[in-house]
Structure formats: C-alpha cells, structure tokens
C-alpha cells in the first residue's frame, strides 16, 4: 500500500505572534482512517481510506471491487437475450433503466427500429424508474445527513411505484421487462389507471419533501458550498447526469442525442450554478417534476400498435403464441439457446439513466454472443472524482459525497 509512511509535521513558530514561542511545540501527524467497507452510509460495500489532518480530509483513496462479479466476462458466455437479467443486477435500485440502456445498445448493433407504441411504453417506464431512483436517492441522502422524516416519505411513495412494477412485470426490483426490439408486455387498463392516479397524487408530495428540507437549517448548512466541482473539472473527470449538470454543463443525452419518445415530449433540463451538493439536490428534485410532465405527455400521445419490432430473426415471438404454436416455441427456444447472428462490428450506445450516462460498448465478431461487452458505469466514473472533490472538507462531508453521486456499488464494481 502507498500509505506506509506516516508523515509527521511539527508546527513552526508564527513570526507574527512571537509569544507563541513560549508554548510547547505541538507534534501533530496525519491520521489514516478506514471508512467502510461495512458502513451504513457507504451505500453498499465501499471502502475509502481517508487521510486526515484534524477533521479535514487531506486525501482520500477509494478502494473498490468488493462487489465485483465479473459481469463483463459473464456477458461473453451468454447470448444477447440472456444478458438482460444480468443488467438488472448492475444498478439494482433502477433495473429498468439498465435494461433500457442495454436493449438500446443491442438494437443499435442489429439496426432495429422499435415500433412507436413500444417507444412510448419504454419512455414512460424509464421515467417512472427515474422517479423511483430519485426518491431513493433523496431519502437516503437526507438520512445520511440527518433528516430522517424525508426518508420515510420518499419510501412510502416509492412503494406505490414498486407495487406498480410488480403488477407490470412480476418483480419489484429485478424487472427484466425490456426486450431487444420492444417490451415484454403492454399496459393493462388497471396499470394505466393506477399510473394516472399516481401522477395526480405525486407533485404535491414533491413539494412536501422540499418543505422538509428547505426549512431544515442543518440540511442547508451541510449541502450548500459542500463538495464543489467546477464545470471544467466535472467535464474533464467525465461526470454525467445531475452530478455534471449541477456545475452548469448542459449535457443530457435525452436532449443531446434524443432517443425513444423523448424528442416528441417537451421538457426542460434543469442546470445548477455553483456545482455544490445543494445544486445537485435541486436538479434532482426538478427532474421529478419533469418526469411527471414527460409521463403525462406520453400517456396523451400514445396510440395503439405493436409493442415489438417485427424482426423474427432477432426479436422474441409473443408469449401467448409460444404456448400455442409450435413454430413460435422453436423460435423462442433457438433465440435463447443459440442467439441471433449479430453482424461483425462495434458500437457504443449511451443512455441517460438517472445517475448519469450509462453506456454499453459492444464488440461483435458475428455469432450469437458478444465478443466483448464493456459497461460504462456512471457510479464508477464518479468515484474517480472523489479524491478531488473531497479535499479540504470535513470528514462528515465524505458521507455527503457518497450520497451526492447517488452511488450504487453493484454498478460501480460490476
């Protein structure tokens, strides 16, 4: 390890105050502190070695990899369809968006266009997932900083949406609802009703969260001016999502490279000014309102139609046909066991998940399995800026920093 030499400093006499010469010389030394891997506010198993001078952070070294499962290697062993459930386990808080990002990447590789209705369904569910992600983030960050009530309020409302996911695909967290070329199943009238009900219920609740925090002096003191990063540095570090936009950089893939139904919706991308924790919080709260707006517009514009692209060599047959029709069953079996024949080539496709740019870089040499699959995980890249952003702040601000990245170790370590 690089920290074996414990540097010692002896305070010199200040020439402006010669009377201090009479005081005994204070011998101080930097303290090394291991934070994590078992710590409630590290959001998983993350260890950071903190070098402290008093209570100030001099240097911090993240130690990653406690949750490394070799997902990129696993991808080389399965067909493209088989990898979808693995993406659930990357960022296990927001499985839907991982599915979405992966399916989009494979569709780019296979050059498939998704039908209109599937695009709308995908956008709606992705935005519902963004709401869940931000609620989870807001609750845990507030809890880390010491505001407990917001946590309960956020989780109460998050529960409604998780139940909605349960009805949609049978799982609350590991959803696997997206498919290459479309989605697994359509909304039922009951789901549509519940979603509309939630859209009316939710915006006043966001105001409630905000009241709790904006009137909380501790919250303001611990977020304003904490963990500031300049726009230039944020870009150089490759930060993305609200962490980048907090510094005022206008980079949102939903606008920069519009995909799915986003170009057909009107929404704004909130930008921060100061690049501190408060601005990043403010952006995420504004995004909650924007997500509600996007879902409303999608529900209005959505027309009846197919939910799966008609490319039988790649896309799965409808489930009811698999159970009743022999050819469809053979097709489903072959697609899962052998996979489809992907053209040789390489693509990169980035998607704006609620944490930042979640990208998949796929190299194909033909055949049913990816030759190489690289996941660009925002949590991992944000951890690269941890040392830079933490220097000079108090030790308690390290906790704020974990929260402000919205870090999930499943995605960071992969």
């Amino acid at each position: 390890m690089a920290f074996e030499d414990q540097r010692t400093t002896v305070y010199k006499v200040d020439p402006a105050h010669p009377e201090s010469e009479t005081l005994p010389t204070l011998r101080t030394e930097e303290l090394l502190l291991n934070m994590g891997p078992q710590h409630p506010s590290t959001h998983g198993v993350l260890k950071v070695i903190l070098e402290l001078e008093g209570e100030r952070l001099v240097k911090s070294t993240p130690v990653l990899g406690f949750l490394h499962r070799g997902v990129e290697k696993l991808a080389e062993d399965g067909t493209y369809h088989q990898f979808i459930p693995h993406t659930d386990r990357l960022d296990y808080v927001c499985a839907m968006y991982n599915n979405f990002a992966y399916c989009r990447a494979v569709e780019k590789l296979m050059n498939i266009t998704v039908p209109d209705r599937a695009d709308y369904l995908r956008t709606i569910v992705a935005e519902v997932q963004r709401i869940i992600g931000h609620q989870f983030w807001l609750g845990t960050q507030a809890l880390d900083i010491g505001a407990m009530t917001v946590f309960f309020y956020c989780f109460r409302d998050r529960e409604i949406l998780l139940d909605w996911f349960d009805e949609l695909c049978g799982a609350r967290l590991t959803t696997s609802w997206y498919r290459i070329g479309g989605v697994e199943r359509d909304f039922t009238p009951s789901l549509l009703g519940k979603l509309r009900q939630f859209l009316d219920y939710f915006p006043p609740k966001i105001d409630e969260y905000v009241v709790f925090l904006e009137k909380n002096r501790i919250w303001i003191a611990r977020t304003k001016g904490v963990a500031v990063i300049s726009a230039e540095d944020a870009v150089s570090f490759g930060l993305s999502g609200p962490t980048l936009r907090g510094s005022g950089v206008d980079y949102d893939l939903r606008k920069a490279e519009p995909y799915s139904a986003y170009p057909k919706c009107e929404f704004s991308v909130p930008l921060g000014k100061n690049g501190d924790t408060y601005d990043r919080y403010w952006i995420r709260v504004q995004e909650l309102y924007e997500s509600v707006k996007i879902i409303r517009q999608c529900l209005e514009q959505m027309q009846e139609g197919p939910i799966m692209a008609d490319v039988p060599s790649v896309t799965l047959p409808p489930k009811e046909r698999v159970f009743t029709n022999l050819e469809s069953m053979i097709q489903q079996f072959k697609l899962f066991s052998q996979g489809f024949d992907a053209p040789p080539g390489e693509i990169y496709c980035g998607t704006e998940a609620h944490k930042g740019e979640l990208g998949f870089y796929i190299v194909s040499t033909g055949g049913g399995k990816p030759y190489r699959l690289k996941i660009r995980a925002p949590s991992f890249i944000h951890m690269g800026a941890f040392d830079h952003m933490s220097r000079g702040y108090m030790i308690a601000d390290a906790i704020t920093l974990f929260g402000t990245y919205d870090i999930v170790m499943g995605e960071c370590d992969r």
Binding site: M1, A2, L64, G65, H68, G70, E72, K73, E76, D77, K108, L109, N111, D233, V235, S236, F237, G238, L239, V249, D250, Y251, A256, E257, G345, E346, I347, Y348, G350, E357, G359, Y361, V363, Y371, R372, K374, R376, F380, I381, M383, G384, A385, H388, D413, R414
Partner: protein, 167 residues
C-alpha cells in the same frame, strides 16, 4: 464538422500514425499507431475545431490470434459540438504499454486503472497504476483476457463429494 471531415482532418494531420478510420452505425472509430496515440489525443482535446473535452470510457479488447494482441479503445465526446469519436490503438503482448492520457482528461485515471486490472495493459506516466476491482495481491492473471477461463479453472471437478446415501 461531419464525422467524415473529422476523420480526414486526423488523417491529414497525422499522415504517419494514421492506420484507418471506420464509420459504422453512425459511430466513427479512428485507429492510430501506438507511438502517436498521445499526440492524436492531444490534438483531439486541444484543437478548437475538434474540442473533444469529455471522456466517455476507456476499454480494451483481446484478439489472441493477432500479432498485436490487445486493442485499447478510448471514446471521447465533444459537449459543444455534440459529437463522438472512438480512438483505438493496438499493442503487442510482449510489450503491452501505451501512453497514459491522464494529463489530458482527469477521468482517464480510474478508467485506465480498470483496463490495467482487467487486461494487463500498462500505461506510461500514469500517476497510480494499481489494480482497482481485483484485490491488490491478486496474481492469477487478468480476468478479461481470452485465455482466462470463462467457467473456472477446473478445480471444481476435483472436489470430493461425500456420498450422502452411504451412511
């Protein structure tokens, strides 16, 4: 500036180091020789017409049958020009080292460490080249290389199972 213009601009500026440029599915991939990689990256970063200020990811691909076995892949994005470029270079196994780009993009630090950890490619002038996801004392090789076994090293087959029926 279209992707094709970017590619030809790189080709004009680096006549000796340029290998090829491929545009496929709307992605531009430029391959350069290893000795010019840092210069090309600097050009992409600093030239006002290019202005690729954002680093997206650093990755690597293993081609065991090729003479120059490893491929290092950088992906950059220009926030102002809304454009992407992929920069690639090849390194042989006997001397797998490339110049680090940490002096141009700070984010390259962790990304290059990951490539070193997973594929064993070293980066010259990297400030802190250690393993990042695997343990520091891991000595069993580099997991994403193609010769690293995908399904264990066979020790599972040598397990002696207790016969529960014969008691």
């Amino acid at each position: 500036m279209s992707l094709q213009q970017v590619a030809s601009r790189v080709q004009e500026t680096f006549a000796t180091g340029f290998v090829r440029a491929v545009e496929w599915r709307g992605d531009l991939a430029v391959t350069v020789t290893r000795d010019r990689l840092h210069e090309v990256a600097q050009f992409l970063h600093d030239d006002p017409a290019m202005d690729f200020d954002y680093i997206v990811h650093v990755s690597s691909v293993d081609w065991p049958d090729d003479e120059e076995r490893f491929e290092v892949v950088y992906e950059f994005y220009s926030i102002k020009k809304r454009q992407r470029i992929r920069l690639k270079t090849r390194v042989p196994e006997s001397d797998c080292i490339v110049d680090s780009l940490t002096d141009l993009w700070k984010g390259a630090d962790f990304m290059e460490r990951e490539v070193y950890d997973m594929m064993g490619i070293r980066f010259r002038h990297h400030p802190d080249l250690r393993r990042i996801l695997m343990p520091d004392d891991y000595t069993e090789g580099y997991p994403l290389r193609k010769d690293f076994p995908l399904r264990g090293k066979g020790w599972r087959d040598t397990f002696e199972f207790l016969d529960e029926t014969a008691r």
